[in-house]
Structures are given as C-alpha cells and as structure tokens.
C-alpha cells in the first residue's frame, strides 16, 4: 500500500523537507482579516501555514497559469527583429491544495497540454510542480456554504492527480502517494507504516464529512449537463441569467478551471517590447469584438450563456475528457447577482422541469 502515517506535529515537516530539497513551497495562510490566501512559505511565516482553513478565493491556478505571463521579448535594432521566448520552469510545490483545485489543475493539464497544440509555457511551469493535497475533513472550517465537490465528483478526497494526499485523522495524518515522486517522500523518517485501523478511520471520517455538505440543489448537476447539451434551455432562461450579470468578470477570475486569456504587447525599453498574456473573461463585453467593431456576441445573456455552455456542454467535457467546473463554489461566493454555477444549475433545471411539466399536462389534455 502506498500509504503511511505521520504524527500530527510532523505534518508541516513536509514543507521543511521540500524546502530543503530546493522547492519553492506554496501554502495556504490566513490573511489579515477572515480572508485566506496561497503564498510562498518563508522562514518567517512557516509556522503560520494552515492545514484547515476556508479555501482561498484566489485559486492556486496562477502558479501554472499566471495572471500576467511574459511570452516573448523582442528587441529592435537597425531594422532587425530579435524575438526571444521567455520561459520559467520553477521547482515548486503546493502544500495544502484542496481536492477541487487538484481537479482544476488536472483540467488545465488536459486543456493546455491536450489536443492539436501544446502550450509550452504551461508545460514548463507544470513540469516540476508537486501537489500535496489536503483532504477537507474539518466541516467547520474546510467546507464552505457553496462547496459542491460532492456533485462534481471531485472531492472531498481527490482520487488522483496529486503527488501526495494528506488526511487528518486526529492525532495523526494519513499520507497517500499518488505518484512515484510522492512515494519517494516516504523515505523520510517522519513517515511510518500505517495499520488497517488507520484506513478504517479514514473511511469513517470521510463518510461523516460527506454528510456535512449542504444538500444544495447542485445534485442536479448531471441533469443540467444533459439539458444544456441537448440545447433544451429556453432563451428566456438564459436571458434571466444574463439580466443578473453585472459583467464584472469575477467568476472567471476566481475559477480554477477557466482558461481564457488575451495577448498584448508592452513597451519596456526604447527598443524593447514584451508580449504578455493576461487572464481574460468571456463575461466581459468586447471579448469577441473584432477589429472594426462587429461583435457576434452582443447581449449579456449571450456571454453568460457562453460561460455555462462551455462548462456544462457534454461536447466540451468529452473534448477535454475533463469538466471545466470542479465544484469549488468560488463563483457562487463572489457573484453579486447570485448566478454562480450552483445557482445557474438550479435555474436551468427548474426551467426545464417546468417545461417538462407543461408538456406532460398538454399531453394529458390531448389524450383524454
């Protein structure tokens, strides 16, 4: 079995171990208020690394897909152009990444490294990234109001795509290796052999945690996927969703599975230009606007439609063999208009249910 146990007090020694090996270790912290965030571990903040805390709004996605990332440096001299790609390949570990965000990174892997073209910038950042997953096992702090990983089938315990997974058993942690790299860490003496009792305890805790999620309507997730894929959503429903969108782009910025970007050039010296890519949002006006002003996607509801269609349509799930929503609930938490994913799923589902009912009634009238 690729599992070990370690003492509660030793959990953060994993961070030390990785730092000694040269990794930049990213971990979750409390901010100044009730906010939480991912940050680089230093000698100063090491003791403040949190195992249990609400998942930060700003997802760890930026460590593989930075908010602003330089792609090229271009020098101009005597009419000549020298184009030089700029790569970064950090040795980095994310300690304490939640299961939903593990699924998020898996989705980004599928998206940026899959299909016709591979994204070399993403690949470079991903290459030496180690993921130390922590299972959300403390319902009081770990699980938010909006979490629905149970429905998206991404949590509370990731089933793969991590290097090492830690689960709090009380006095001890259970560590499961997901990759040879994770397993290699077991060489350190903090890891000890576990027993059947540990595994049983893990099972019991998980069973309990699963019951602690709010029984929210996102159990309609798969039904909504069906409705969207079949194109059965009425224009009226999309419009209702669109009318509540303030076009702030917040949902796309906090989403661990959103992938869109724009590319822009900036002057950095008299003869030097940098080309950078910047996160972009399909929720913003102008996302599809072409030179000359023609915008094929004008109405707000069209843009909302796009985001949910892109995430829920079966076609895209199949295209990437992974879904662009991982159930983290962040968009629901930040949306002013309450059209985060759980809410949209509910609206979509209710609307189709009504149509279905109306049709059934019509049917009854006819057949009587």
């Amino acid at each position: 079995m690729r599992a070990r146990v370690l003492d509660r007090d030793d959990a953060l020694k994993i961070v030390d171990l990785l730092r000694r090996q040269g990794y930049e270790v990213i971990a979750p912290f409390y901010g100044r208020g009730r906010d939480t965030l991912f940050d680089t571990v230093t000698d100063q903040n090491r003791d403040r690394v949190q195992i249990h805390l609400p998942n930060p709004y700003y997802p760890p996605k930026r460590y593989v897909f930075p908010h602003i990332e330089r792609l090229l440096k271009v020098q101009r001299s005597n009419g000549d152009l020298h184009i030089e790609p700029t790569y970064e390949q950090p040795l980095r570990a994310i300690f304490g990444i939640r299961s939903c965000d593990i699924a998020g990174i898996f989705h980004l892997d599928r998206f940026y490294l899959g299909r016709e073209f591979r994204d070399i910038y993403y690949d470079n950042r991903r290459k030496n990234l180690l993921l130390i997953n922590v299972v959300c096992s403390d319902p009081e702090v770990d699980i938010g109001e909006e979490c629905f990983c149970m429905c998206s089938d991404t949590g509370p315990a990731a089933r793969g795509h991590f290097d090492l997974q830690l689960m709090d058993l009380g006095e001890e942690f259970l560590a499961v290796a997901g990759t040879p790299a994770g397993e290699a860490m077991f060489a350190d003496p903090i890891f000890k052999k576990g027993t059947e009792a540990h595994i049983a305890r893990r099972r019991a805790i998980l069973e309990d945690v699963r019951k602690r999620f709010k029984p929210i309507t996102t159990s309609w997730f798969s039904a909504a996927i069906q409705d969207v894929s079949k194109g059965e959503i009425l224009e009226k429903t999309w419009e209702e969703i669109g009318n509540r969108c303030l076009e702030c782009g917040g949902c796309t910025y906090v989403c661990p599975a959103c992938t869109c970007f724009t590319v822009t050039d900036r002057q950095v010296g008299p003869n030097e230009i940098e080309r950078v890519r910047i996160w972009d949002s399909c929720g913003l006006d102008g996302f599809t606007r072409m030179a000359g002003g023609f915008n094929p996607r004008r109405a707000v509801h069209d843009r909302r439609n796009r985001r949910f269609f892109r995430k829920l349509a079966h076609y895209f799930i199949q295209r990437e063999l992974s879904m662009a929503c991982v159930g983290c609930g962040r968009c629901a938490a930040v949306c002013h208009g309450d059209i985060g994913m759980p809410s949209v799923v509910e609206m979509v589902r209710r609307a189709t249910a009504e149509v279905g009912k109306a049709e059934a009634e019509k049917h009854e009238l006819v057949s009587h």
Binding site: L71, L72, V74, R76, G79, D80, L81, I83, P85, L91, D109, R110, L113, G114, R115, E116, F117, R118, D119, I120, D123, R126, K127, N128, L129, L130, L131, H161, D163, G178, T179, P180, A181, A184, M185, T259, C260, F261, T262, V263, D265, Q267, I273, R275, R277, D280, C282, T288, R289, M290, A291, G292, P296, R297, D302, R306, R310, A313, Y315, F316
Partner: protein
C-alpha cells in the same frame, strides 16, 4: 526526488520537445500593392528560408497570425495558393494592428506564425464541380482555393466563379479576375450593385448571376464556396438552397476575433467549435448549428 518521475505521472504524456506555438518568425516585406480603398496586398517572405519552406505547406483556406510588435497580433486569411511562388496577405485597414501593417514599406520587418486552421479539404472535392461565390472582400479567402483548383484543373469538373461588389471600384483582384475570364474551362462572372456609364458588365446582386442566360450552375456533385458580408451570405445561401444545394455541400470560412490561433485563448469559441482549430472552414450545415451571427 527525481523530476522525471513527476513528469511521467502527474501530467499527460506529451512528446518532447514541444514546439512554441506562440513564437512568430521574422518576415521581410517585399512589396506592397494597392488594391481597393483601404485594402493593400503585402508580399513577404520569411527571413529564414527553412521557415519559408515549412510555411509553404499551407492549405487553401488556412490563416496566419501577423505580429506588429508593440501593437499586437491579428489573424489574416491566406489568399495565395501554395502552388504560387509568392506569399502575401490582403489586409484592410480596420484596427490598430492592420493600420500599423499599412504603414510598413518594402524591406521592413515584422513577424508571422502559422499556418493555422483546417482549410478547405480540396482533395475531398476531386471529381466535383466547384462554384465560387464571393461578395466583395469575400474573394480574399477564396482566392487561394480558386488558384489551387486551376493549378489542378484536371482534378475537377466544371469551375465557376461569381464575384460581386457594390461598385466596379470595389471588385477585388481585378487583374486576376480578367485572367480567369480568359482561362479556358473556367466560367467567371462579375457583377456590381451600382455602376456608372463606363461599366458594361452585369448590374445586380451576385445571386442575380445564377439566373443569367447562358449561366447554368451545376447542382449535383457540386461544392459551393460562399464568402462575403453577412447580408450577401444570407441571400446567396437562400438562392443556393432554392436551387437544390445540400447544406453540407456549401462551404464558407468564418472570421472571428482571434488571439492565439491555436485553441487556447478562448476568444474564437462559438457554439461547440473553436473557429481557429475546428475552422475557419465550415459547411453551412455546421455553421447553422453553431448558432451565432455569421
């Protein structure tokens, strides 16, 4: 800890080395040809001959991304056929990037990457009649397929070209059109919406050419290429469907705001398609399903 172990397990296996799809290559502008109002043709070659050779494997209907550093990048269709010697684009001055391109003079350097997109499946059309219908600048993306078809004349049955513009001054590639008019085995017709006394040709929308005496558009075993402004597109489609064309035998190329050209930035995504990788060439049957404005 060895990182190769991480590589093999934590991410999908990707063959090494990965090419940088965002890296444009330096090109040199050879000459600029004035076309119609605001439109110019830019003939260029890659600085590196190996790049030029690699690029020349493009297919009709594909596109390229043009970089004007400091301003940005824009997608442009490729009007030349791979069977021609020269590589060039015909670009209208509409935004900041295209304006920057219009400022360039022979000898200036810029950068290009591509070719991208699916292109027209010309081999699949072997043995068929080809009907090209181009409204205004819609002839730019079709030029490549026309020249390609003529270079492989024996592979196709009848070839018809219909080109319409608002006024005679707005007809595209006139020298080329005149050459096609003279080419045996090609049926080339032009029309304008409005004309002065010096125009002796046809007046009317491009669809009016289909019904002209002496013009007989083959419907069976025919592929119709349709490109042009939205209104023209809708009317021509109606005409063609009325004549009995199957939706899947009508092809067009879509233009979208594109940032990456390689299916990553998300800007060109419509319906279930990424125009840059699944298109820009689609059949009318597909376009209908995408469900957005043309």
């Amino acid at each position: 800890m060895n990182s190769s172990a991480i590589e093999n397990v934590t991410r999908p296996i990707v063959p090494e080395p990965i090419e940088n799809v965002y890296l444009p290559k330096v090109a040199v502008l050879d000459r600029v040809v004035d076309e119609i109002h605001e439109l110019k043709t830019f003939c260029w070659h890659f600085e590196d001959p190996a790049e030029q050779r690699a690029f020349k494997r493009f297919r009709p209907g594909q596109f390229a991304q043009v970089s004007l550093f400091g301003v940005g990048e824009f997608p442009t269709s490729l009007p030349p056929s791979p069977t021609e010697d020269e590589t060039f684009f015909t670009v209208r001055q509409v935004g900041s990037c295209t304006s920057a391109l219009h400022q360039l003079k022979a000898g200036d350097k810029f950068a290009i990457r591509g070719p991208y997109g699916n292109g027209f499946p010309m081999e699949e059309y072997y043995g068929k009649n080809l009907v090209f219908v181009a409204g205004g600048i819609g002839l730019i993306p079709l030029r490549s397929a026309i020249v390609y078809a003529l270079a492989h004349r024996d592979k196709f049955q009848r070839i018809q070209i219909f080109h319409g513009a608002k006024t005679p001054k707005e007809l595209m590639y006139v020298p080329k059109l005149l050459e096609w008019e003279r080419t045996p085995g090609v049926d080339c017709h032009m029309t304008v919406d409005r004309a002065g006394a010096d125009w002796t040709g046809n007046v009317g929308v491009v669809g009016s050419l289909f019904k002209k005496p002496g013009v007989e558009v083959p419907v069976d075993n025919t592929i119709a290429f349709v490109c042009g402004p939205p209104i023209m597109f809708r009317f021509v489609i109606k005409d063609l469907l009325g004549m009995g064309f199957q939706e899947r035998n009508i092809v067009s190329t879509l233009e979208r705001y594109m940032k990456c050209g390689v299916g990553k930035c998300g800007h060109c995504c419509i319906g279930v398609a990424y125009v840059c990788v699944d298109g820009p060439v689609f059949t009318y049957e597909q376009i209908k399903k995408l469900g957005e404005d043309i």
